[in-house]
């Protein structure tokens, strides 16, 4: 398992992506899977950066783990900000027309659709969000 801790600010997104992608490269996954993982990582990290510590600053820790001979990817985000379960939010109505669509609300929905499993817990003063994706077969 590899771990990276950064200041939870959106301008750290590229650093987070590089870290995740360097781990994914070892797994030799398809472009499609890579994009799905990047989507989920971006949405979760940006959420933390925008909301967890506002108006103060804090850090986020991301860990990447490949288990089952590299078949299962597990990414865990931890922050010590305001307790917040992003999964509690209702999914947006994706059948609405452009005029009726709200701007936003899509990020978590896209995360859920891209991953096989997304879970949240608040433990020991930390928000812990876990993404799981089967990357082979």
């Amino acid at each position: 398992m590899k771990e990276l801790t950064v200041l939870a600010k959106t301008d750290k997104l590229d650093e987070i992506m590089e870290f995740v992608n360097s781990e994914l490269e070892a797994a030799n996954c398809s472009m499609k899977v890579q994009m799905q993982v990047e989507l989920a990582v971006e949405e979760i990290f940006v959420n933390i950066a925008n909301y967890a510590y506002t108006p103060k600053e804090g850090t986020a820790t991301i860990s990447v783990d490949l288990t089952g001979d590299g078949a299962l990817l597990r990414i865990v985000f931890k922050d010590s900000g305001t307790p917040y379960d992003p999964l509690a939010k209702e999914d947006p109505d994706v059948t609405l027309s452009a005029q009726d669509r709200a701007i936003g609300g899509l990020g978590i929905f896209m995360t859920k659709k891209s991953m096989d499993n997304v879970s949240y817990e608040y433990k020991d003063g930390q928000n812990i969000l876990t993404l799981e994706k089967r990357i082979i077969g």
């Binding site: 959106t10 301008d11 997104l13 590229d14 472009m31 499609k32 994009m35 990047e38 989507l39 971006e42 949405e43 940006v46 994706v94 059948t95 609405l96 027309s97 452009a98 005029q99 669509r101 701007i103 936003g104 899509l106 990020g107 929905f109 896209m110 659709k113 891209s114």
Partner: protein, 98 residues
């Protein structure tokens, strides 16, 4: 991300090259807000678009709403992976994808 633009007789073509994410989407948003006045036809060419996140989709939605009021907008050249994202999010119903 890089944006190439060409404006010709009320038709604006924006080529988006690279990644449309949280960090780069504001640039496209700014470009659209500055350039869309008087545009009747907007083409967003995605042949070299590698990645789009919800931040990018939000900008496309804003552009679509603006163009609904003043002309037409369509998206061209998307890869299958990008088309999948439009499909999952219902954007394939909102956008005109050619």
């Amino acid at each position: 991300m890089k944006i190439n633009k060409s404006l010709n007789d009320g038709k604006l073509k924006l080529e988006i090259i690279g990644r449309l994410d949280t960090l780069t989407a504001p640039e496209l948003d700014k470009e659209l807000k500055e350039t869309l006045t008087g545009v009747k036809e907007l083409e967003i060419a995605c042949n070299d678009l590698e990645y789009i996140s919800s931040a990018g989709l939000r900008v496309l939605l804003t552009a679509q709403k603006m163009m609904n009021a003043q002309g037409e907008m369509y998206i061209t050249g998307c890869s299958d992976d990008i088309l999948d994202i439009f499909e999952i999010t219902g954007f394939s119903q909102i956008l005109t994808v050619k």
